[in-house]
């Protein structure tokens, strides 16, 4: 098992898939000559040339639609949207074309595009560069949404996304590109559906995805060390569809659930996981499920404001403990 960074894992997946299939192409702003803002496509331009590694104009809806159209006839575009904030501009082609074409053509056409984009809050990038849009993509029928929490997933999810017949949105994170982790040396394809138990536990389940998985893991350590609470951590690497069975399995075991999301609460991952728990295993609950979310504000630039706008490990611990202090249901 080689240690590599998140961006290196994404780059490796690109490279392998482009070698495997001449119709796999990469496109996006500054991904070619410049090698990509986060280096995810570094060196590919030199290796595969301008026809397959395409520096696009600043035309998000246009080049996303272009990738979708190319995918109609067998091309497998991996589209990088430099920051998820710019995806607001491309939602028309993603929602109206990519996600609906299979259905409205009665199965004749499909749009096997991969759209990758960093979708978290980094450091002081301000309101227009700090949106978290996973909730928007999860609401679009016909689109798959995955979000890697480590280099192994970043590699394996992109590999499978490229091969899959469906359009897949991959929600990455600006703060994770330099994260190190193990990636198997042998080629592999990560499942696009399901969830992963990142830590076994008995007392409460902490649900996270992408960066928040790491907050959950750190919180779990503190909960064990300082509060004797044994938390299970579930990594929801597939946000659409969500792994109903995996969610139920864990809650049926721990009887308590905390969903940790980097985004604001309204109509988000936390709400959807809570809804699934209510629908699938309400009677397993010993306490109300709760969500730890960002404040419902555009993200401020100033550091002290930004810090409190986004959830942190301390909050996860503290909010989780309320489940044990609060009166039991029966």
């Amino acid at each position: 098992m080689a240690q590599m960074m998140y961006w290196e894992a994404i780059r490796r997946a690109h490279d392998e898939e482009m070698t495997n299939d001449p119709l796999v192409i990469a496109m996006g702003e500054d991904i070619g000559v410049a090698g990509g803002t986060y280096k995810a496509t570094q060196g590919l331009y030199e290796k595969y040339g301008p026809e397959r590694v395409i520096d696009t104009p600043i035309s998000e809806n246009g080049y996303t639609g272009l990738g979708i159209g190319a995918s109609f006839i067998g091309v497998r575009p991996i589209i990088e949207i430099m920051s998820v904030n710019f995806a607001w501009l491309a939602l028309d082609q993603i929602a109206n074309s990519a996600a609906k074409v299979r259905y409205m053509s009665g199965g004749q056409l499909t749009a096997p595009v991969v759209i990758r984009s960093p979708g978290g809050t980094a450091h002081q990038l301000g309101a227009q560069h700090s949106a978290r849009m996973e909730k928007v993509f999860m609401g679009i029928a016909g689109l798959r949404v995955v979000t890697p929490s480590n280099p192994r997933q970043a590699y394996g999810l992109l590999k499978s996304a490229v091969r899959c017949e469906d359009p897949v949105f991959i929600n990455e994170h600006e703060l994770m590109y330099n994260m190190r982790g193990e990636v198997p040396d042998e080629e592999f394809f990560h499942p696009l559906e399901g969830s992963e138990v990142s830590r076994q536990g008995r007392d409460v389940t902490l649900f996270g995805y992408n960066l928040s998985v790491h907050w959950c893991l750190q919180a779990a350590e503190i909960l064990a060390r300082e509060h004797g609470v044994d938390a299970e951590v579930i990594d929801l690497y597939s946000l659409s569809p969500l792994d109903r069975a995996g969610i139920v399995r864990s809650v049926a075991k721990t009887h308590r659930a905390v969903i940790v999301e980097e985004a604001e609460a309204p109509v988000g991952v936390g709400a959807e996981v809570m809804a699934i728990i209510n629908e699938e295993c309400f009677f397993e609950l010993d306490a109300p499920p709760l969500r730890v979310s960002a404040r419902n504000v555009p993200i401020p630039y100033s550091r002290p404001l930004e810090k409190v706008a986004i959830p942190n490990v301390g909050q996860v611990v503290e909010r989780t403990m309320t489940l044990f202090r609060r009166r039991n249901k029966h």
Binding site: S59, G62, G69, A70, F72, V75, N96, S105, G106, D166
Partner: protein, 351 residues
């Protein structure tokens, strides 16, 4: 503004053009007449509530799709358009019965009844679909052109859209990319002077649409869209330009729709005078009269042709649509995602 066609710019090579033979012109007359009768029959079916949703008819614009696609290779070249799409699909080779069945929402429809009038798809004939968002097909068409270039085929990608669609940002982004990457895309603008009830001069700073292509270094030309021979000649040069690897091309056809924008539109915003002027330039009548003048056709032959077409539509096409089955409600979840795609389960080692 001058609402009548006429002005034709330079821009496309006209040399080596092989004019249409009499046989071709007779066939095209029949095809256009069929298109007209097909659309008018859809109108009736809509009034009878056999067809639902939004219905946009092509009556008046027949020479555009037929003239352009006659100059291309329907079924081989990729074609994409908006919601006014029945006739483009049929000219690409779609079975009119399957198109009508689609409008009836039947399982035997081209799109299995899932799409309806605005979403005719027939990938077997490389008709890549009708789309309901104005401007949506521009980037898709350019993407198909990119795919053609990557795969090294000799197909071209043809995008038919209206005049008002050119005000959408996708027009700008798509034409720029098509030129920067020199892609085999032919943009056909069917300029019928209106976007629903808004006349072009009230929404658009430049009335001659082909001129807008110059902002992307894309050659463009403006042609009388009611004269199929003029359309065919200009389109032949345009198709040759694109197919020979010289990059994208923009073809503006000046035309007019006879009916309202869709069934819910009364045309109140158009002067009867303007409508009369255009009716005088009916594409079917123009070609018919030419053939009659040349003694290649008699009025009786034409009337017989018309009767045959009407019977064919009624007894074959409409009957098929009427008699075929509706989709079953159990299938509502089909076609959202690929069915058991192996890659969804992954492969090889995993934690």
């Amino acid at each position: 503004m001058n609402v009548m066609p006429g002005y034709v710019s330079q821009g496309a090579r006209q040399d080596g053009y092989r004019p249409l033979s009499v046989a071709d012109r007779k066939r095209l007359l029949r095809e256009m007449l069929f298109a007209r009768r097909f659309e008018e029959r859809c109108y009736e079916a809509y009034v009878e509530r056999k067809i639902g949703g939004f219905l946009h008819l092509y009556s008046g614009q027949e020479a555009c799709a037929h003239g352009v696609l006659e100059a291309a290779r329907p079924g081989h070249d990729y074609v994409i358009t908006g919601y006014r799409d029945h006739i483009h699909a049929i000219k690409c080779g779609s079975d009119p019965r399957a198109v009508m069945a689609e409008l009836y929402g039947k399982e035997a429809g081209v799109s299995r009844g899932r799409g309806g009038s605005m979403h005719i798809f027939d990938v077997a004939h490389r008709f890549m679909g009708g789309y309901a968002l104005v401007g949506g097909p521009f980037p898709l068409a350019v993407g198909i052109a990119k795919g053609i270039k990557l795969k090294g085929g000799d197909e071209i990608s043809i995008c038919f859209l209206g005049d008002a669609a050119n005000n959408q940002g996708t027009f700008h982004e798509s034409l720029n990319m098509a030129k920067v990457w020199e892609l085999p895309a032919l943009f056909v603008c069917e300029n019928n002077l209106y976007g629903i009830g808004t006349r072009i001069d009230r929404s658009t700073a430049v009335l001659d649409q082909y001129k807008r292509a110059a902002a992307y270094n894309i050659p463009g030309i403006q042609v009388d869209g009611q004269d199929i021979e003029a359309v065919h000649k200009a389109a032949s040069a345009a198709v040759e330009h694109v197919r020979s690897g010289q990059g994208p091309y923009f073809l503006e056809l000046q035309t007019y729709r006879y009916r309202g924008h869709s069934m819910s539109d009364s045309n109140a915003y158009r002067s009867k005078d303007e409508e009369k002027k255009w009716l005088k330039r009916d594409p079917i009548t123009i070609l018919r009269n030419r053939l009659i003048e040349e003694n290649e056709l008699s009025l009786d032959e034409f009337k017989t042709m018309d009767r045959e077409i009407i019977d064919h539509i009624e007894n074959d096409i409409v009957r098929f649509a009427e008699e075929s089955a509706l989709p079953s409600a159990q299938d509502v979840d089909k076609y959202v995602l690929a069915e058991n795609d192996p890659w969804v389960r992954g492969k090889g080692e995993k934690a």
